[in-house]
Symmetry: C2
Subunit: 423 residues, 2 copies
């Protein structure tokens, strides 16, 4: 009998074999497979919902919060919309084979740099079972084998989703090992995935900070770091007040549990007098509690919005709640320095009508995305038009920001000569 490590690595070896087949599929073959997977999910909707109910029952027994149970829940409507996402991926262009550079050298050699699949993509993720389908679909379209390690709380759901997708692959004459769940639900199986260097080409963790930290620190397989978001909104002295109020509220409160929600508000001192009364009213209405420095708190005193005193922990915090750190800054450079010190490099917004301020800010802020007069909430593969997204990279190498199909590729140079030798 194989031990746990061999079991995981054996799965990875099957994924590698499948990846060699995926590499040479035509777009037609991949799109047909994606549509068949979508159909299979809908055709097996009742079974999937039944398996999901086991996960929900287990979650209830464990005292899981209603919010988390909602994220876990699959209904036939939700399955239809997950299937629809696969059809949308099928409609996207095939990234594989795209020529991203091409030229002829003086000696006549023709150089082309083309996109190729990465190979075997490992996903480690929490809670939401739709990730199982999104990741499988994006990997398949980009010619990669998917090794999926969801959370044990969604085990039955993920198994049912994978079974439906794999049966569709078999019906299409393809290798079902293009989509595999990592066997075992212990933490050990995650460890074995993280040490499968040479078998797995990249690991993408998606979930809370501790999950991501653990994968980044312990994996010998290359990792793409995702999702941790301490996002800032800077209201410049030249901001339009109406837009500034709307953008701050939307960035913070439109949805608090996501990485592109704003956590800190920085206000230029020259606009504080006019901006703050309007902003505090709107933030109070949205239910926001501000964690403010002394100057901001002084200006907000007696106003409609709940304000508590900020500590350094607040500047670093990702609240994932209706809390927001707040500071009045002396200058745009003080705002930039604050962001450089505290940001996680995900998304920062500037609200300003001054081209000078905007150019100054965008040239100096080093984050995955900078929003100019737009909500931080727009940093999202779907909003960017990528179809489904595999995650939002907060690292600087390979991919940065929302990752879609091109980010799931590597490249190869194909150099064509006519017997060219080097002198």
């Amino acid at each position: 009998m194989l031990d746990d490590r061999e079991l995981v690595h054996d799965t990875a070896r099957r994924a590698r074999a499948a990846a060699q087949e995926l590499r040479v599929l035509t777009r037609d073959q991949k799109d047909a497979a994606l549509l068949a997977m979508a159909d299979a999910l809908e055709a097996n909707s009742a079974e999937i919902v039944a398996e999901n109910e086991h996960d929900i029952a287990r979650a209830r027994e464990n005292g899981t919060s209603d919010a988390l149970i909602d994220r876990l829940t699959l209904t036939s409507d939700r399955i239809a919309s997950i299937a629809q996402a696969l059809r949308e991926v099928a409609a996207l262009p095939d990234p594989v084979g795209e020529v991203i550079r091409g030229y002829t050298l003086p000696n006549g050699l023709q150089v082309r740099q083309i996109r190729v699949p990465i190979g075997v993509v490992g996903m480690i993720y929490e809670a939401r079972p739709n990730v199982t389908v999104d990741a499988a679909g994006l990997c398949l379209k980009s010619g990669n084998a998917a090794l999926l390690r969801g959370s044990s709380s969604a085990m039955n759901s993920n198994q049912a989703l994978a079974t439906a997708m794999r049966s569709a692959l078999v019906d299409q004459g393809l290798n079902p090992d293009a989509v595999q769940l990592v066997p075992g639900d212990s933490h050990e199986s995650v460890k074995h995935l993280m040490t499968a260097r040479g078998l797995v080409d990249v690991l993408i963790p998606r979930g809370g900070e501790s999950l991501i930290r653990s994968v980044v620190e312990n994996s010998t397989v290359p990792v793409i770091e995702t999702g941790v978001g301490n996002c800032h909104v800077y209201v410049d002295s030249h901001a339009d007040i109406d837009k500034a109020v709307a953008l701050v509220v939307n960035s913070k409160a439109q949805r608090v549990s996501v990485c592109n929600a704003a956590e800190t508000l920085l206000v230029h001192r020259d606009i504080a007098d006019v901006f703050l009364p309007r902003a505090l009213e709107a933030l109070a209405e949205a239910g926001v509690t501000l964690h403010a420095d002394a100057r901001f708190a002084g200006a907000a005193r007696g106003g409609p919005c709940a304000v508590v005193e900020a500590t350094d922990e607040d500047w670093a915090a990702e609240y994932y709640s209706l809390d927001m750190a707040a500071s009045i800054v002396e200058s745009i450079d003080e705002a930039i320095d604050h962001i450089r010190r505290w940001s996680s490099g995900h998304t920062e917004a500037i609200v300003s009508d001054s081209q000078t301020s905007i150019a100054h800010f965008t040239a100096r802020i080093d984050s995955a995305a900078i929003m100019v007069n737009a909500s931080t909430r727009f940093t999202d593969g779907g909003e960017f038009g990528f179809g489904a997204e595999i995650g939002i990279s907060t690292q600087k190498l390979h991919a940065r920001g929302p990752m879609g199909l091109p980010e799931l590729t590597s490249t190869t140079y194909i150099v064509t000569g006519d017997g060219h030798t080097r002198g």
Copy 2:
């Protein structure tokens, strides 16, 4: 007094501060600095040669080989050519600010993905002091601060080169910490560089396999793996014999000490009878010893070329010498399987006049570069027209193949709205 770790990390902190200044320099400023650095190297040529002589004297005392001493040696001519490389980098386009994607979303948001500097680039490299200048120049042009850790054998030379370049930066009114040598010549200083996560954005090791392996395995800073090359030449059944002979000899013997030299020859059985007599004669003339499987050895018996029996170690070997592994394969797929099993993913060549064979091979080989009827020796930043190169990546993420200026950048999305909020 600072301990070694703090000394290295302090250098990295100064590099970070310099990187913030480099980020916003115009192309004119960077090019002027590169030209000033080139002039300073030439103006200080005598001092640099004198310091280099200390390194050479130490190397001779240590019994270093003539070949290595030649790599280490700087003359005024060599310094002039190193300076010339900086002027060539100045002539290249600035990668920073290049818009690599740009479009307007249905809601009117304007999305632009632009190239930005990575930040602080650490280089760990061996022997040749020209790398000190090449790396500094490429980093500066791409807006990155360079943290350079050369080998202790080139310590005096590297110090003299860095001093000249830093004084040129000061003359240009720039922060000299844009170019720094890592202090200390002990192995400890390399270790401290590898653990400066958060201070150094990427490490690029350049040198022998054990150096690269050690950095990949021990660094908590992201690494770009370079250079290990077990390259193959496959002579297809449809190869032109003249071209095939010339390409095999050039790939193996034009320069043996480099990563893009070929190490294994794979010959299709249908062409062996006509190819081998010509190839063996040419390889013998070039002084090559073949390490052949039984079938190849049988066909080569009594011929002009030295042939010994191959073991599995030969298929894995990077000889860096006039040795070459050799096998006769039954089919193109057997060649592909051999390469999949043994290649380091650097460069493979196919010699063929068959479009079918070429398409089959290029679709299935997963290496940084594939040469079609061209020598493996062409995988090189200079040959590809990149100007100087920072290394050749053999990993799949971020950069693959020769790395020039664009590969020393990350990206940022700049999204411009008019008060856009998410609904």
